[in-house]
């Protein structure tokens, strides 16, 4: 724990890699809860974006602390950004198409694969 820069004495005042990673993990978990428990499809997509952003924080923090010379982490982060934006767009298009079918975005109504 010492080398990550987490100093048990100064956990609050000295921010290290660990803090950023912990924040990312927390946001990821919150996003996971929302993903699984939401009934509204749009909320599900929003939580998915939340999880992707958490991952982004992870990449950027690693890049900052481990390999600042090579900005590969941030490049990857850009790509994640791009892809998640595209996927969110398509996802919302799907939601709208589904809404046109059943006039509901309640995910409980879409259980055709049941049984």
């Amino acid at each position: 724990m010492i080398q990550t820069g987490v100093d048990p004495m100064n956990l609050v005042t000295h921010i290290g890699l660990y803090h950023y990673l912990a924040l990312a993990v927390l946001l990821f978990s919150i996003g996971l809860v929302g993903l699984i428990t939401s009934r509204n499809m749009i909320r599900v997509l929003m939580c998915l974006e939340l999880m992707l952003n958490a991952v982004n924080i992870n990449f950027v923090a690693f890049n900052n602390y481990l390999h600042l010379d090579v900005m590969a982490g941030q490049v990857f982060s850009i790509f994640i950004l791009t892809v998640s934006a595209a996927e969110a767009a398509v996802g919302l298009a799907v939601v709208i198409a589904l809404y046109r079918m059943r006039s509901s975005v309640d995910i409980e109504r879409y259980t055709v694969l049941k049984g």
């Binding site: 993903l35 699984i36 995910i107 409980e108 259980t111 694969l113 049941k114 049984g115």
Partner: protein, 673 residues
Amino acid sequence: MQYYFLNNIWMVPVYPLIAAVIILICRSLDLYRSKEISMGLVVGSTFLGFLHAVAACFWLFAQDPAHTVFVEKNLEWLHAGPFTFSIGYLLDSMSVMMLVVVTFISMLIQIYTHGYMEKDPGYSKFYVYLALFNFSMLGLVLSTNLFQMYIFWELVGVCSYLLIGFWFTRPAAAKACVKAFLMNRVGDFGLLLGILGFLYCSMGWWQSYLSHNPGTSLLSFHAFALAAPHVLVVAGPGLFTLIAFLILMGPMAKSAQVPLHTWLPDAMEGPTPISALIHAATMVAAGIYLVGRVYPIFQVSPSATAIVAVVGALTAFIGATIALTQTDIKKALAYSTMSQLGFMMTAMGVGAFAAGLFHLFTHAFFKAMLFLCSGSVIHACEDEQDMRNMGGLWSKLPITAWTYLIGTIAISGLIWFSGFWSKDMILEGAKEYATPIFALLVLTAFMTAFYMFRTFFLTFTGSYRGSAHVHHESKVMVYPLVVLAVPSIVIGAMLSGVAPFEHWPVFAAYIQPPDVTPVVMGMLHGSTIAGHGAVHETVHHGAWISEIGLLSLGIGLAGVALAFLLYGPKPIMNLEQFKQKPVIASLNRLFSRKWYFDELYAGFVEKVYLVFAKASARFDSGSIDGLVNWTGRSVSSSGAALKELQTGRVQTYIAVIFYAILVLSLLFIYSLL
């Protein structure tokens, strides 16, 4: 030249097999239509077999009767670990005697069949069955070992089934053939158990025997003289008697001994030629033949021979008592056959080995003739079988009547026709063994004479009581009768070594029970084994006048006289009134109901066997099927339960994926995977 006949004796069963195959193929391809071709093929094949058998007989008997020569060849067919099954032929005096008898009588009956079955649509099929039966019986006779004999035993049973049920559209015939087969099956089951028990107790001995004597077979008949004492030692007397009894069960069923005898009278539903061939002369004799082949088993155990003797004597007695009351001519002859088979079995039991086989030999001729005569009578009376509707047929069917008379005299042992000699030998043997058995046999001989002449008087004398128009005899059917009459008269005297025939071979000299001293094997020209057995005791020649002879003559005449008085032209008493007397009535009921054996069996099947069978069936469908069904049900119900895992909600699937990732990563981290 002689060696050709000996080494190729295996062809004798094959001739009729080839004939059967040819007929089957040609008839199914419709290559010919004429009936005569079928008959010609089969009769020709049997005739060839007969010539071959006679040639082998002459060559074999040209040897010095002090030695018993035999020719044996075995082919190894199957190997299964220590067990080798061989098939081959064994030609010694016993088998050559049977070969001659079987081929001769088969040939005559096949000629007779032409007259009897001429108008039957299944003519060729009948000949095929006859040829197949011939093949099976001859194969049985030539068997070298007990396994091979068992195979042919079963084959003979199948042929009997096919032939009894030839007119299977009649319900009585259909039931009879199944009854015959099933009852034989029971006997065969016992036989198989006995064989296996015997083998089990002597497996090691057979291994060493086979390694010392290459070219012989497992359970070879020659080695029985040596194997049986060994098994007696290994198994102990009680178990050995059981094994012997189990082996006896086969002949009990096949030769219609009590208690497995009830199929024989029902087998009369078949056409008369096969009643003559199978159920009088040849197949039922197979049981006696088997006993003769495995005789050492009975020789070494007094209790086993006692069982044989008692079974035989009971059969003789019971058969005779039932025959007293029969009104159907074929059934009367069937019970007569059963009684005579009892005589033969008793002979084997009391130690009169040669007597039993001699009686088999002579009985084949005259019983076949008697059946063929009855067939001629039935045919002439337009399928009438009830003797109460016959009478006075002497004038219409003279040759039949004469030959029937000759047969009746032969079977009663009246004059010096062939039955006299063989029956005398049996009675002598029984007297030396045990007086109760002797007394039973004497009483049975009296009854034999009585009921046989009863049938004669009812059928041929008096006035015609029936309603059908009696035809004249058919020429084709008469010739075999005449031919068979000759041996019925003379063959007994010829082979007993009495006055004019001293230089003829004596039957009892050639047919001896096996001896326990080792058999010397050698090679014969053409790579078969020839053996020489040990010298046997001097043979007792028959005499024209002897003590037993006078006794049997006396009782025979007494039986004839009684029959004449009761059934002759002027009956001395009214039989119907006589039958009403109390003791007589109950005896009459017992005998005419066949000692209630059929009712006993039916009751057993219904009350014991079916109950058990139904319980087993319930257990099977409930527990065993239930187990299988439960497996199926549990699979489908578990499937239905697992189906609930598929909720159709994406979020459930995501959760499951995450859980899986979690668990796997935990396992990886803590190095459990």
